[in-house]
């Protein structure tokens, strides 16, 4: 593969892939917070 195609592929797929993966993880983290909600009594036992 020539350098031009390689560079463009890495920039587009690399940046896009990183952003998409972290966006997916961000959504999953939001779900995690809903599935395991914070309860003061449970998480801070006296």
């Amino acid at each position: 593969m020539d350098n031009w195609s390689f560079g463009v592929t890495m920039v587009v797929v690399g940046m896009g892939g990183t952003l998409a993966t972290l966006a997916l993880l961000s959504i999953l983290m939001g779900l995690l917070k809903k599935v395991f909600p914070y309860r003061r009594e449970q998480d801070n036992p006296k």
């Binding site: 890495m10 966006a23 993880l25 914070y38």
Partner: protein, 380 residues
């Protein structure tokens, strides 16, 4: 008899006779690194052994990096096998609290934007005539994360390991100097004054325990070539959060991290043999590394501005600068910069969230890059 004495004296002088000017220059560089570590307190845990390693390897005829030399053994055992960066990652995971990130998951996106410098610099390195594998290694300096840079470089361009590592670690320590001018240049005074409110802890222990598992499985499935990086940092974090392996967690964040840091840093210093290191190529790598970290900051702040618009002005764009992996320095820089313009503004916890997002982001970016490269048939 006199002849024997003469030969003996010649043996004692042979080190001096073989001293090359480049060795002297690199010993000077080693001393500068020691000064930065000892005198200026810039990443002393890394710069002191790197600086000393650079001095050691530039003493002629000692053969420390030749076959059988003790530094060569350490280098082959831990750097070429990629073991040291991975062991350090277990320690980093054990030291990191992802709570502020879980508190506001949208901030995770800033951790992605803070990695764009990797890919932009990779393109620039290609344009400057570096090979594809060298460009990958140079770009990864933008991860602003020493272990990640070493892990990728040892696979793709081991001959650049010295310059890439020095760039990654030294620029990381210079984040407090590099970032503020870029942050001020890209934001208005009004933007810098935006108050994001107080972060209240509302993340359950269970969510914190499940988080590393989810990241490992999802990230690993998307970018399997980066699983060693992702898996080790998340293993360390899982040990910390589950709370039942306190001894292992303490060992990972103290003894193991300390020993491996020493061995890793001294073997990185040992790659700085003047006759190999002092080339115009090294200077270009250092310049591109500098650019990579500046581009990370630019992209992070610009993405912060985008989030500000998307949230109707609730996000202070300064926290975008914390989307890099230099933890917790970048978050502290954001806090200091925010308070300069609005003394009542406490951005620290928001910035810590972005900063931990940057830690995961840098690993994820490297993982994505390795998997894309593998897909294109350019394995390390």
């Amino acid at each position: 008899m006199l002849e024997a004495i003469g030969t003996g004296l010649q043996g004692l002088a042979s080190g001096l006779l073989h001293l090359h000017w480049s060795n002297l220059v690199m010993m000077g560089v080693g001393c500068v690194l020691l000064y930065l570590g000892v005198g200026k307190d810039f990443e002393p845990l890394l710069l002191v052994p790197i600086g000393f390693g650079a001095i050691l390897v530039n003493i002629p005829l000692a053969g420390l990096m030749e076959e059988g030399g003790f530094l060569r053994h350490i280098y082959e055992f831990g750097v070429l096998t990629e073991l040291f960066p991975l062991l350090i990652f277990v320690g980093i995971g054990a030291m990191t609290d992802f709570g502020p990130l879980l508190e506001n998951p949208k901030i995770f996106l800033l951790g992605a934007a803070g990695q764009f410098g990797i890919f932009l610099t990779l393109g620039l390195a290609l344009a400057l005539g570096f090979t594809q594998k060298e460009a990958v290694a140079i770009g990864v300096i933008g991860a602003c994360d020493g272990p990640t840079a070493i892990y990728v470089t040892s696979q793709y361009a081991p001959h650049l390991l010295g310059s890439v590592s020095v760039a990654a670690y030294s620029y990381m320590s210079l984040v407090p100097l590099l970032q503020p001018p870029i942050m001020r240049w890209l934001t208005t005074s009004e933007e810098r004054k935006i108050n994001m409110g107080v972060v209240t802890t509302s993340v359950s222990k269970r969510a914190k325990i499940v988080f590393p598992l989810v990241v490992t499985v999802v990230g690993g499935l998307i970018a399997p070539k980066g699983l060693p990086l992702l898996g080790t940092i998340m293993l360390g974090n899982f040990m910390k959060e589950c709370g039942v392996v306190g001894r292992l967690t303490r060992a990972a964040e103290n003894e193991i991290a300390n020993i491996v840091t020493l061995l890793l840093a001294i073997s990185i210093g040992a790659t700085m043999d003047g006759r190999i290191f002092l080339t115009p190529q090294t200077l270009i790598v250092l310049a591109l590394g500098f650019l990579a970290i500046c581009l990370d900051t630019v992209c992070g702040v610009l993405f912060g501005k985008l989030m500000k618009v998307a949230t109707g002005g609730k996000v202070n764009p300064l926290i975008g600068a914390a989307g890099i992996s230099a933890y917790p320095m970048a978050a502290r820089v954001v806090q200091a910069e925010g308070q300069k313009h609005n003394p009542t503004n406490y951005l620290l916890m928001h910035a810590v969230g972005a900063n931990t997002g940057g830690q995961v982001g840098s690993v994820m970016a490297a993982a994505v890059m390795l998997s894309v490269l593998k897909g294109m048939g350019l394995g390390g």
